[in-house]
């Protein structure tokens, strides 16, 4: 028998489980699932070493559709489940699938602490700005005034901005993409997978049943180039159908400027995803189309920092180095003992 030294060549279809996918037809989740199946075979990670952990919500059905290990856990707790798993088994590649309600509302605490620990997980937050599974209540990312079944006169909760939160929690990798922008999405997922530490990705996802069109401005052919801005490391922030607009810093504030008329690319803000300070990434996360800004998509931040799972395991090794491998009999007999004859 020959010993296999190379990984089998896998195709996207190999990552499809035998379960029927049950999202509503036209849901943005399908596209994210498809892009995930596309990038996984390219990562060089054995299929059985990949685990998907989710919470509760439409997006959280994701693990059932992946031919990998997986767990559809409980509402909001996926980051904690994944943390236990990854800390014990750093050899696994662990993905967390969550949504705006699951991750930011009921599970906000776990998300915050997982990110600040820089646990080596890839967290994808499917942001559809609504509660889909429970049939259409406003979510923590729904805009003020949003009329839903539970807010017939309009939501009065100020919305959260997922990337601002992740950056506030010291995230080492932060990115945004859009369900229908499949090339971009695949590239962002791949980069997240390659990042060591917590990778946090917000995906604008359309819930065509309960919140259809929430992201139209960022998706429609006519508006998307005006309303979004594709980030590239080391490049100036330029956008617009004719790439004639840019973002300039005016004191501490960003402003939209038109190129030409005495303003050149050199006057613009340059993107630096490696900046040790998260201020730039945070500033980008605050740019919103309602305020007249294009919303940046792509990688906001990608820096190296120590990881919890790695350090936890290093401490075990260090303890063995310092004290020797634990010996239960010696431990039991440590301290004061006496013998009865």
């Amino acid at each position: 028998m020959s010993i296999e030294t190379t990984l089998p060549v896998l195709k996207p279809a190999d990552f499809a489980s035998n379960q029927d996918v049950r999202w509503c037809p036209g849901c943005g989740d399908y596209s994210i699932l498809a892009q995930m199946k596309k990038i996984l075979p390219t990562l060089g990670v054995p299929q059985e070493n990949i685990v998907f952990i989710s919470g509760i919500g439409c997006s959280s059905r994701f693990p059932y559709y992946m031919e990998t290990y997986g767990m559809h856990s409980i509402h909001g707790r996926a980051p904690a489940v994944a943390s236990g798993l990854k800390t014990c088994r750093p050899d696994l590649q662990v993905w967390v699938i969550t949504g705006d309600g699951d991750g930011l509302s009921i599970g906000g605490n776990h998300l915050m602490h997982t990110i600040r620990r820089n646990m080596d997980l890839n967290i994808i937050l499917f942001n559809n700005r609504i509660y889909g599974l429970t049939k259409g209540q406003y979510s923590p990312t729904s805009p003020l005034g949003k009329m839903t079944k539970s807010s017939p006169m309009g939501a009065i909760d100020n919305p959260l901005h997922p990337l601002s939160i992740a950056i506030g929690c010291e995230a080492t990798f932060v990115a945004r993409s859009i369900d229908t922008n499949i090339k971009h999405l695949a590239a962002v997922l791949k980069r997240a997978a390659e990042h060591q530490g917590t990778a946090f990705i917000e995906v604008y996802q359309n819930c065509n049943v309960f919140n259809d069109g929430a992201w139209n401005y960022a998706k429609d052919r006519e508006t998307k180039l005006e309303k979004t801005l594709s980030l590239e490391h080391g490049k100036p922030l330029i956008f617009g159908k004719d790439r004639d607009k840019g973002i300039r810093l005016n004191g501490m504030e960003p402003e939209v400027v038109e190129l030409g008329k005495g303003i050149s690319e050199d006057d613009l803000l340059f993107h630096d995803e490696k900046s040790p300070e998260p201020s730039l990434a945070y500033l980008l996360s605050r740019m919103r189309y309602e305020d007249g800004f294009p919303e940046p998509i792509g990688v906001y931040r990608c820096v190296d920092a120590p990881r919890y799972d790695d350090m936890a395991n290093q401490q075990l090794e260090q303890a063995v180095k310092e004290k020797g491998k634990g010996d239960l009999a010696a431990l039991f007999h440590s301290g004061e003992t006496w013998t009865v004859g």
Partner: protein, 627 residues
């Protein structure tokens, strides 16, 4: 200093041999009473006595100095016979201040020895304790053998010349009290001198001061004519072996480590700090070189769910908490039950409801362990009956968990978690082996004809295979939605749901075939059966032994397995005129026993944050014997 004072004449000294004695040290939480207590315990254990201890922590950690809320105590019962409780009443009480006296005096027996630090009985201290007049100067303490000693002054004198500040000097006072009590009970100083050396080695001046003060206290006893009797307690006849003293929480931690070792597993503890369970986290965090990972989670929910993630990963996964924390874990426990992964959940019970009495003991979370989850959600529940039993119960929990692929609840309580007793150190080969097998792709019977892994295939214990990530060919998805038996796929089929609920219940019930038959202490029929569970074991055993010695028809049935019950329990209960169930709650086990066996058990219920005294149980049994 003391050596210059002539020793009292031999004629003035009486040395009396007694079977047993109970001593309590109490003082302000800053007075080092826990240290005094643990040192006295170690020394008593080293001279061969059986010992049982009861530390009583202040209700408030940062209560103002000198107040009743800040009083800390430590009780030690030591004996030449086998003992099971820290003692009902105290033979000698050391009170370092008026608040300590006021809150502890009621437990000192009539004619008992009362040692107080006279210097602390000044105006402010007396007022804080609520004394109108100084009890040392009125007649209120006449029924005790009072020794009011200027401990502060004598301590300062003893350290003179060492260059310590007054504050530092005063911190040595507990050693004076210890020295005196060591003399009173004829204990050697050597173990504590060794301790001082180790603990204060980096501060030679402090080590020297504590040594001098300890000796000064001892010499004071030798010298002062007023203390005329010295007591001696012979070694107990314990089973041969090497012993150490062990506290319940430490025994739990070590039991978990032993179980991990026996199953060849890494140990993972997910925990959030909570009284009185945190010491399990602290102990395990020390032992990283044993492949022990501790994860201090952001909250109890994360502690629980990280434990679930760890269990999925294939390690020995444990979480430990107390009632309020367990309440938060409830949803996670439901997930653990439905995904049928092995793990251990420890509840060190404390007084409830809500925050309740964090530092005080209770047994009121039995319902919570048995029923505290949504849906039909059965979990095995076992309870430790003494500090050293925690070591064995932890291993038993893991044995059951892996054989039946289920989370297992372990109940201990603040009383046994912080109490201590001698423990005969077992040889590792005496400990149970806990074999664990993970399936591989080669286990064809676990796959359907299309090669799909059937993650809910069951073995003879109804356990499903513990397939772990990283294993080729066994990829599967777990989750909280109802599972189809066999395939493990999500299923909304009504018949399957019915079947799965019955199957999960049957699996837990099957454990009854796999646990020892319930043992009885005493004849298997008679007038009164005392049915205890968990931490009330000691008081019940002592009460029953006392009455058996008087020829009374009483037996004791100490339960450790609460779900399922041992198979022969029903039969045992039928053989007695009365079944008495003493519990530190309103009668939770009693309700369950009544429901299960249609038997009119009688309750003895105490909800004071304190364990039962032997006397309370004895008098209730007397009452029943008269019926």
């Amino acid at each position: 200093m003391a050596s210059t004072i002539p020793k009292k004449s031999d004629s003035a000294l009486r040395r009396t041999v007694v079977d047993e004695a109970t001593v309590r040290f109490c003082g302000d939480s800053g007075d080092g009473m826990q240290l005094a207590g643990t040192q006295f315990t170690t020394t008593s254990a080293l001279v061969g006595n059986d010992v049982a201890t009861f530390p009583d922590f202040p209700a408030e950690i940062r209560a103002p100095r000198g107040t009743k809320a800040g009083v800390s105590g430590f009780q030690i019962h030591f004996s030449s016979k086998e003992i099971f409780t820290p003692g009902d009443t105290v033979d000698a009480l050391v009170a370092m201040n008026p608040a300590a006296l006021a809150t502890n005096l009621m437990d000192l027996r009539d004619g008992g020895i009362l040692i107080v630090n006279k210097d602390a009985f000044e105006k402010k201290g007396l007022a804080q304790a609520g004394y109108q007049t100084n009890p040392l100067e009125d007649e209120s303490l006449d029924s005790y053998r009072l020794h009011a000693i200027e401990m502060t002054k004598l301590t300062r004198l003893a350290v003179e010349g060492l260059g310590l500040s007054t504050k530092e000097a005063d911190r040595c006072r507990n050693f004076f009290a210890m020295g005196l009590v060591y003399w009173l009970y004829d204990r050697p100083l050597a173990p504590t001198l060794r301790f001082i050396e180790q603990k204060f080695g980096k501060r030679p001046d402090v080590a020297q001061a504590n040594t001098q003060v300890l000796k000064a206290g001892f010499h004071y006893g030798e010298t002062i004519e007023a203390i005329s009797t010295q007591y001696h307690v012979e070694p107990a006849k314990l089973e041969p072996g090497t012993y150490r003293n062990i506290m319940g929480n430490m025994a739990t931690a070590w039991g978990l480590m032993a179980a991990a070792h026996a199953s060849g597993k890494r140990l993972f503890l997910g925990a959030y700090p909570i009284t009185p369970a945190s010491d399990i986290l602290h102990e395990l965090a020390k032992h990283k070189n044993f492949d022990v990972l501790t994860f201090q989670a952001e909250d109890e929910i994360a502690a629980m769910t990280a434990t679930i993630g760890a269990a999925f990963s294939g390690v020995m996964a444990v979480t430990a908490s107390s009632g309020p924390g367990i309440a938060l874990k409830g949803e996670g426990l439901g997930l653990a039950v439905i995904i049928e992964l092995p793990m251990v959940i420890i509840n060190v019970q404390r007084g409830g409801p809500s925050t309740g009495l964090p530092t005080k003991t209770d047994q009121s979370d039995l319902y919570q362990a048995l029923f505290g989850r949504n849906g039909e959600c059965p979990m095995p529940v076992i309870a430790a009956q003494s500090p050293s039993d925690c070591f064995y119960i932890a291993q038993e929990a893991w044995r059951i968990a892996v054989r039946y692929m289920t989370p297992v609840f372990v109940l201990t309580d603040g009383y046994i978690a912080n109490g201590s007793e001698p423990w005969r150190i077992p040889n590792l080969d005496e400990l149970p082996a806990i074999p664990v097998q993970h399936p591989t792709a080669r286990d064809r019977h676990l796959h359907d004809e299309n090669g799909h892994f059937l993650s809910y295939t069951r073995d003879k214990h109804l356990a499903r295979p513990w397939a772990i990530p990283g294993t080729p060919g066994l990829m599967h998805r777990l989750g909280g939605l109802e599972k189809q038996d066999g395939s493990g796929n999500v299923s909304y089929d009504p018949q399957n749901h019915h079947h799965m609920i019955e199957t999960r219940a049957r699996k837990v019930a099957l454990i009854a075939n796999d646990i020892p038959a319930q043992k009885l202490d005493g004849p298997d029929k008679g007038q009164v059966l005392v049915l205890s569970w968990g931490g009330t074991f000691g008081a019940c055993a002592t009460a029953v032994h006392t009455l058996q010695a008087e020829g009374k028809s009483v037996s004791h049935c100490p339960l450790r397995y609460l779900n399922p019950f041992p198979k022969n329990l029903g039969e045992i209960l039928q053989q007695f005129d009365h079944v008495l169930i003493p519990e530190l709650n309103m009668g939770q086990l009693r309700t369950v026993i009544r429901g299960e066996y249609l038997l009119d058990a009688i309750g003895l219920n105490k909800m004071q944050g304190k364990p039962f005294s032997v006397g309370e149980i004895v008098s209730k049994i007397h009452e029943l014997l008269k019926v």
